[in-house]
Symmetry: C2
Subunit: 266 residues, 2 copies
């Protein structure tokens, strides 16, 4: 691979990928969804274009004209933008019209199909981020207690079932009881709700779906996750090893140690 | 059965049961958790006692002294009372100490075991409430659209899986996407959350668990359910026929018709 198209939303992941790809002497053409994202990617990119999320036609044509064959899409996109129909061009709308359900799987296969029509190949989000995947074992000073390990194991089973049903990736448990299941409200809100009903010491488990699409939706945690857990007095964060991306690992571990939270890869 | 012990929390179900049992010339000994509940049950009861939720010893002794053999427990109990350890007597605490997890199943088997020790037999909450179980078919003027029927069927499958995992009874879906899964936050909050992410026209599905304990936890809906759905601009309420209790059916149907909501038993 000599050239990589990077279609980038908010957050730290796009910069991490751009940095890792540049170190391998890969040329990067960035499509940034906002000016700010573009500014962050400029030092690593040969060219930076600014397009809206829904401008599928322009994005695809630009990448083709630049001679791009391989593409990585990642970073967060504000829901407000996604659900604003006026921000979609005809090609994006036609593609969305074929979506069978609102599930991620359905949305993602539409995106892949659309890119594929023009010969663009989507690469796994974690391809350049192997160093950022959660490792097996306890990552913090604090280790889970025996009781907490039981909750981690119980929670892992349940979370995998929830993932299999294509509902969400995160659950909150305590005393082998499910306090919150994430659907589309997002990880932080699910953690907040579970903690609210826990009276402290909740265990948060985040896993990949059995059919997780790492091309478009690798499970990700960052320092915000620990911040939310700290506010809710949660005690353990369990992540599926080798499948969950950790942004700012050092900061997360520092925060977790300060808050007496255990982080484990399972 | 000549005598029935009715251990009663808040809501309309205890009065409905007391009324139905009295019509069958069954004598009722009520244990009311608050003065107000006691006042509501007095017209139907031979005697009314007031005890706290945690006064297991007093409740059991009283029922035995009254010659009660069969018991129905139902009605809501404020969570604040349940989780206040000072409100439990030694017998209740000893019983709670044996609970393996915080799940309903575990709590319920402890209660049954404790009653059983003194020869008290727990009866199904729906025993006197057969007329109040949801029936198959459309109960409202408005029928679900084809698309909504698809969501009802999709939601029913998912809700059954969520029940099988002993997580909750209610889910909210739209466009074959799960918007909210109820864990321990309660039906109304799950509906509110799902509706918030639906932008209108959400489908609410409530089912029994495959191992639902109708002795202590029959799925129940009432006019509050429709009220919450109306606020969230939801469009369909689907209930498992023959397994879900409907309190104030007439009022619910009136409200649903006013709000253009469809109620179906499936």
């Amino acid at each position: 691979m000599k050239k990589l198209g990077l279609i980038a939303g908010k957050g730290k992941l796009p910069v991490l990928v751009a940095n890792a790809a540049k170190e391998k002497a890969i040329e990067i053409i960035s499509i940034a969804f906002t000016e700010q994202i573009g500014d962050e990617l400029r030092p690593f990119s040969q060219k930076v274009y600014h397009y809206g999320v829904g401008q599928a036609e322009k994005i695809i044509n630009t990448l083709k004209q630049e001679g791009v064959e391989y593409v990585i899409i990642l970073g967060k996109v504000d829901k407000g933008i996604i659900f604003n129909k006026f921000s979609f061009d005809w090609r994006a709308l036609k593609s969305l019209g074929r979506i069978r359900s609102g599930s991620d799987e359905s949305l993602f296969s539409a995106i892949k199909e659309e890119l594929g029509k023009d010969g663009l190949k989507l690469l796994d989000q974690t391809l350049f981020l192997q160093d950022y995947l959660a490792k097996k074992g306890v990552l913090t000073s604090r280790r889970p207690t025996n009781k907490e390990w039981q909750d981690v194991e119980f929670g892992f089973q349940i979370a995998k079932e929830i993932g299999r049903l294509d509902i969400g990736q995160t659950i909150v448990v305590k005393d082998r009881t499910v306090l919150a299941v994430e659907a589309i409200e997002g990880t932080d809100e699910a953690i907040r709700r579970g903690c609210h009903f826990s009276n402290g010491n909740a265990v948060v488990v985040k896993v990949s779906r059995p059919h997780q699409d790492f091309l478009l939706d690798a499970p990700t945690v960052g320092s915000q996750t620990i911040e939310t857990m700290k506010e809710g007095r949660a005690s353990v964060l369990a992540l599926e090893a080798g499948k969950t991306l950790i942004v700012d690992l050092a900061k997360m571990i520092y925060q977790a140690n300060q808050a007496n939270i255990a982080i484990v890869g399972i």
